[in-house]
Amino acid sequence: MSHTLGRYRRFTSNFQCSYSVYRALTRALHHGQRLSQNARAGWETVVGLEIHAQIASHSKLFSGAGTQFAAPVNNQVSFLDAALPGTLPVLNRRCAEIGVMTGLALGCHINRESRFDRKHYFYADLPQGYQITQQRQPLAEKGEIPYYFFVANDMKSPTKLSARIHHIQLEQDSGKSLQDPEQNMSLIDLNRAGMALMEIVTEPDFRSGEEAAAFVKELQLILTTIGACSGVMAEGAMRVDATVSVNKVGEPISTGVRVEIKNVNSIRGVAKAIEYEFSRHISLLEKGEKIANETRAFDAENVETISMRDKEKVHDYRFMPEPNLPPLRIYDNQTLSSDLSPDQVINVDEIRSSMAATPEERRLALQAKYGLSLEHCQVMLTSEGTEDFFTAVMNADTTRDIAIVYQLLFSILLSFTNEHKIPVDKSPVDIVKFGDTVDLLCSKRITYQVARNIFHQYFEAADNRPVEQMVDEEDWWIITDKTLIEEHCKKLMAESPKKVKNHKKGYRECGFHKAIVVRTQGRADPVLARQVVEENMGKFVKKK
């Protein structure tokens, strides 16, 4: 796999020019397609996203307090997080590394020098009265990632789109406030205050809620794959702010008034909130009314956006450089200096070579090596452990039929592991047993139904026999004896004359081929069974 990966990476870097031409053509091609999908009486709908992703580190961005979800109230708070006077921020190395890794995964340029700033506003869950963020010089800029958009829920043939990343910045998360309406107060828990966030800001490259949702899904997959973020939106590990505007087709995007929808915490919610907002805008504009430039929240229960009127933002954040943090410098193999101690150096080349492959890299590699369809690749990427399992099976014997391996893995093995809630790599059907089963299927010595029976034995009966031994002892070899099958067929025809009649008259297919398989404990070759039934009953032609 890494060999293929290396080839892919070299391929893209050597052919950067033609690849970007490809991207531009793709975008132009799809633009027309997307416009026609979303055109609502001459309106163009535009979305830009800001995603806040919690960095998966053990401790916070600038303090040594822990980052566990659902810790006891105010127990994961250091003196710095509580903004006690005299405390100073110290940058967590791992957070910076993860930021770099994310920048690389999103195709960004990593700034060799980035700085921290203070963004000032008063809020009960922001004890310092400012947030430390990166406003002037963020960690990474100008990236782009492909993502897959399924038009009208057609899961078979996705459209490949691409979205540009404006920048990625590191910043602190705020605490949480719970409203207690009875006692008329807010209760503040600072456990989350100071946790590391990456703010990923896109260009306004989306034209519908579904596109934006598809992008968020891909981003989530990327971040979880490289280990940057847990991606669990329900726990607040990823929050999406969407900026939405509507303009007449042909007019510049800037003519639309922008409205920000804050803190959407589910992928479906992203699509719904945006679509609701578009409808609201179009409805108002068609009546000749104005859109207010404001911030809104998404009410998931009622599926609508509501104005956050009392969060009237005082827009002047009075940014100021953070004086307690000298610049963050990122090195590479060229600029590395021997007088720096290794634990004080972050080397982008080292990170690039040791980071996990991104989903797109894995998809392309799987397609290149195994000729798998995009849909199959997607399935493999989203089912944990299956890619490794698949490649291990193929590596053990490269002549194995890919389609059979895929089918056995996803249609049969996964149904067992899901039912028993165990990961693929811990299943009683290990790579050897699986491979042996594949081989028997490939050589047409057993049927898929028998394969299912075999796995059932391993999962339910704690059977430990090698595959071939089990098949032999259970006498599960495939039945290819046509005479035998014909006997079964004729028997069935004799038992159910009504079915024969309905089949020949075109009312209902007899389904004898299935019955034959059942009667032979799954051993009958289903293709042969169908052929025999057709020969004896005639092909079923449904009567109109």
Binding site: G66, V73, N74, V77, R93, M185, D299
Partner: protein
Amino acid sequence: MTRFYVNISKMSTWMLTLNHRCLSSKVPAKPTWKQIDPSTLPKPTTIDEATISHLERLALVDFNNQEGIERLEKAIRFADQITLVDTTGVQPMDSVLESRNTYLRKDEVTEGNCKQEILKNAALVEEDYFVAPPGNIPLKKKEKSYRPKT
């Protein structure tokens, strides 16, 4: 009244020769610059009502009285002198440590787990939470439904 003693005898002779300097001094005899002529400055800023309320909102600190407003106007007037310096081509300086790198800490949990100490200095605490007035709840106005027609 008690007297205040200084042990004069310990002073060195050089102090007493204050008026008998014979070496030429590199110290300039007269001031080498004057206070800035206010006429060279831009127009003085007066703080209008809008700015007063804007600043009070941003800072959550009040001017309190006319004296406070005058204090700010004086501070701005004083600061206006900075515009007289020619800074063409000069890079702004965040701090003297610009050529240094920020220190990188290992990703270990070394703090926290000190809830009592964290809460100890708060004037108001409710069951391990800090307490603030209510607010920042999105107002739910009954708007016409803009749900997309499906």
